[in-house]
Symmetry: none
DNA sequence: CATGAATGAGCCTTCATTCAT
DNA sequence: CATGAATGAAGGCTCATTCAT
């Protein structure tokens, strides 16, 4: 309830958490190098030395931020996407796309998952390795099984893999290239509704492609 | 008369150019903030004060680098892509995709256009506005005319626009998410041949989607 | 009832002692300023705040370390050096030199007396005053009485005092200038045997000087 | 004439020199670790960044200080000590002792050679290696030839070496243990006159020892 | 009583920039 | 015109110390 967390009993964990959330914001906004420990601590109402005390150094804090950001994203958008067991491939694809879009565009004050990942793409840190294994590979598998379901059992593995990437690329694009798309089409806003429409389009485009490709495969 | 004459008479312009090329490299590799004027000058065999002398300040140099990088990319990969006037839409799409991929993956010492753009996506500078108008909007128009050619005249404008983005997203993806794809599939190398195959897949996927969508439109 | 009980009942005094011994080592190795309370506490398996709790502050700990180090040295090398009452002046001189050498080169884990004193020479603290009175003055008197015994009753007081310092200086030298002597003569090791030989030489040199000076005095 | 050296043409070299002299003082007074770049720069009327600009870092400055301090000592107290070629061994010994004492007690504002060396004894840095080779080994040789001259050709090499150290130790002692001697004998001041008397005593003591030892050798 | 958490001053270093030459 | 020298702000980090528990 008070501004200074030191009055609460759990001030240790509380300060730690505040630091992580503040850092997520600052790292997302400025990048690792340009982010300053001082700014992060100021946002968290903590002392300059708090980062070194709790996380060893700036890098340690960053690693913790990435972990936390991933955990948040997973909790908020669980990998099964709340689908029924017997959902059709089409429904699964739509759900996957929709959930991924939401996850990536979530700028909630606690995570900034999308922005942090975008920065990892440009300047990968050691944290990326585990991130790929823990988060991205499972999702890639999930998507590939959907794609295979749609392409049929005769599709070569490579086609499945590449088509999966074609689907994901469309999702990621709107986040990554937002500065360009917003300049190209200023009317475009990423409201909840717009994201829904986006999901519709990506699903439609991808389904069309996959169905047609499936048909092409049978023809051969 | 001085002890250290600047090699040649044209050293002024030459130094300027060397600075820009060195800076392109460093900005691409480290980002604007983390790039240091000292490193740039060292690479260009120039004095520490040279940047401020030639470009006013670090930002001025950065703007010049972006301009130069765009100019290089345009010269190397001209917008018409060397197509004949009467080429089919399919051929045009393939050419567009292929040229774009090449352009984005060109890490030539003089440009680093792809990496610089990637960084602009995450932290847009003032330079992005003109970049969008001069480079991206024309390309977007070009692509949209191709897409419209494939979707047919009845397709709503928005569908054309979004489908264009679906095509571009697939191209951009492999560059932007390279750190992830390389970790997911370590065998994947972006050799010339691989880029060709990539272009084939993106073209195939996109054509399949567009044709199927065109069919869907007619059915209605 | 607490989760981490402090091992034993006597942990208070035990921790104190552990701190002193750890501090002796660290202060000797790094010097007062460069020694960090954290390192000392870590070596003593104690909390960071333990130093301030037990000794007020870093300086308080240091003072206690010096006291302890002196006490240890005294116990191990008692001032009478185990000589018989009726030993000759020559024997006394030899015993004094030998005992002093041993004391100064003792790097036992509990004392580091020599190194600590060396540092006091360079940056005297308040503790030095009492150290001089309690330790050095008695030893100086002891040595001077030996020297007077050898120089004879006619020797002026100042000659006695200075000759005493000439003796002590030879002893101290090998400890203080060890880094240099070891570089000059790499073979030189301060084994027990070597220290014995050292004592022999210093005794021989000093006795020769004192006898000759005594003869010179009588001649006048 | 002005406080700010930037008005002089040679401000670069001037600032450098001022920094070295200020640093010599501060390093001698506080030791390497405890000395602060800020204090050094303040004393030299220079900016905090000046040290890094001129010497790379604190260690670089320290190395330069040691070099400079050695050069000063050499210029002021040249190794030949201004003796005539045919001087007797006794005269040479006296000159050596006197010159060494002066050198070690010189607290001139430019060098602080003695104090810096004392600190090197306690915490040797990389610089000590070359210092030993360039300065101490030549002096040790010089002294040993004098000692051999006095002990005669029959003296074993080791006796010569150790006797040399016995001489040097007496010289060094008064500087190194000054805090103790001054507390033991507060009247003792290291005025020019006192240093002369010190030289007399050390010479007398050493000559007495060497002559007596030479006699002992012959007797055998 | 004894301690884990938190503090703020201080450290060295790097930086883009400016100035006199 | 072009540059080497110098600047001061800001960076991350370590430190001895304090305080509530």
């Amino acid at each position: 309830m008070s501004a200074k967390p030191s009055q609460l009993g759990s001030s240790n964990a509380a300060t730690r958490q505040l630091l992580i959330e503040a850092a997520a914001h600052v790292f997302a906004e400025r990048g690792f190098k340009a982010a300053s420990v001082r700014e992060i601590c100021a946002r968290a109402n903590a002392n300059v030395a708090a980062v070194n005390y709790h996380f060893g150094d700036k890098e340690g804090l960053y690693a913790e931020v990435l972990k936390y950001s991933l955990r948040c994203a997973r909790e908020k958008y669980p990998p099964d996407m709340g689908l029924e067991r017997d959902a059709s491939w089409e429904a699964r694809l739509r759900a996957f796309i929709h959930a991924f879009l939401l996850r990536i565009f979530d700028d909630g004050p606690q995570a900034c998952h999308g922005k942090l990942l975008s920065r990892e793409m440009i300047e990968p840190t050691n944290a990326l390795d585990s991130l790929v294994e823990e988060e991205m590979r499972p999702m890639a598998h999930q998507l590939q099984s959907i794609v295979r379901g749609l392409l049929g059992p005769d599709a070569p593995e490579e086609t499945v893999r590449r088509s999966g990437m074609s689907v994901i690329s469309q999702i990621v694009f709107y986040h990554h290239c937002r500065p360009v798309t917003q300049r190209l089409y200023p009317k475009m806003q990423f409201s909840q509704k717009e994201i829904d429409r986006l999901a519709d389009h990506i699903t439609e485009f991808s389904l069309a492609a996959l169905k047609q490709m499936s048909r092409n495969l049978k023809r051969k």
